[in-house]
Amino acid sequence: MKTVVIGVIGADVHAVGNKIIDYVLSENGYNVVNIGVLSTQEDFINAAIETDAKAILVSSLYGHGEMDVRFMKEKCDEAGLGHVKLYVGGNIVVGKQDVSEVEKRFKKMGFDRVYPPGVKIEDALTDLKEDIGI
């Protein structure tokens, strides 16, 4: 069973999607470590180290995502988590912005997969299987 860390970053309290991601990934055979809302980059990294996670799924809904995830990839690398897949999804920027533009910005910051609004966790399962297996 592969382990994934999930959580909601920053001062963000949107809890509904997080609970559903937990449920859906568990149902689909993953060992889910859920650090919940209002989590810092460090919370994600520590959890990933402790549980030998294969992927970190960062949720950001409230709009400040772009600021909250800065240098997260660098910190992962420093912590020896260079091999861990880094995903981000939700409503990761403020406002309705061009999707491919946003994807570019986040990929440049080192995210492996970037999901725009409207992508439910169910839709990302194939990617996850492809990237880390089950």
Partner: protein
Amino acid sequence: MVKNKKMSLEEFLEIRKVILKQWPTGDHEALDLDEAVKRLKSVPNHKNFAYKLREAKEKGITLIQPRAGVARLNEHVELLQYLEEVGKADLLPSTIDSYTRHNRYQNAEDGIRESEKQGRSLLNGFPAVNHGVDGCTFLYDSVNSPLQARHGTPDARLLSEIIHASKWTSNEGGGISYNIPYAKNISLEDTIKYWQYVDRLVGYYHDHGVEINREPYGPLTGTLVPPCISNTIGILESIMAAEQGVKNITVGYGQGGNMVQDVAALKALEEQTNHYLKLFGYDDVFVTTVFHQWMGGFPEEESEALALIAYASTVATLGGATKMITKTAHESFGVPTKEANAQGLRTSKLITNMLKDQKMPESKELDFEINQIKKEVDSLILAVVNAGKGDIAQGAVKAFKKGLIDIPFAPSELNNGKILPARDIEGKIRILEFGNLAFSDELKAFHNEKLHERALKQDREISFQMTVDDIYAVSLGNLVGTSKE
């Protein structure tokens, strides 16, 4: 231990000194209370929130108010002017950004600076504390409608001081409703105290001849919240506000989706808030209601979003809400542009205006739902009173600890988090898992029965998957979820 007891003036003034030092903008001449009273007395009726609500209630109409907030002052002014002129908003908000909500004023400052640099808002709201009394007063002077702060701030003491001194005559929030859905582990006792302070400030102003409106935050997590839960919390916060001297209260409810249940919830909310306020000895509180357009996940397609907005407006108007908070066609994506925001307002206004002479007819079904909600609320309030041995502030804290009250999908660790809601076959929100909710067996049996009826009709099991399907349903254009295969 927190108590539902009016804060003495001395205590209030003592705390106040500390509060005003939390950020440099707390140091402003307008924050002298005499000066603030003088300023607030200069607010004309048409810019006073409390007055405008009284007037609307008398006329039996439904006012509309958007959500709106951006980082930079000038952009925010422009935004609100646009919503007033093009959107025809009756009441104006300033939605506060999330850093300010968590009292992270330094982050907010960085956000403003970064926004200035990039020429677009990187914050999800208006950082009112950072803009201070000068900025907030400039905003007040730039518009023609009453202003309210809308946020989700567990500790909004400094924020409240600043906005009222800037002549904003309403403030949303409460010690429970701005904690459990908006925080992870902030003590409920603390937030109740913080909000007693906020209410005490409004009470102070009232004692000095200034009427300010307060609005407990009704929708909570906005996600399948059974009416009895949100109504109970609205009533508790109204009582606590009244104790501190608040006299003009707007209780809120977020659209559930079934028209009859939604109208019933609004009616029950208004009647029971009045009832309990009187029962607890607060005789002269003026109560109005606010209906929030659908607070859960929105459909992506813009025409569908507008349809949902119009439907919500129909329910609010036929249900006799005094105010409605509007959404936009951008809801599922992100903070709306001013154009999208105005569009949502116009869609809403057409309905509130066109339907103003119609009410939902009385019917057995409606009566039944009103009574059902009332019985449930009575049961929850009784549990709170008992838990607090007569004191509802203490009772609230204990009720949450024991899970006697439980809010679905709340992020707070103080919340029991055992309750699970799901819709019945008509789309009314019922309860699937009660956890420790203070419901009698009879009440539970009713919910069970309703969900069994659905399970039977849909040929499926009663399970968490039902709840999950219901959470997704509206964004997929349905109300009652169906299992996809």
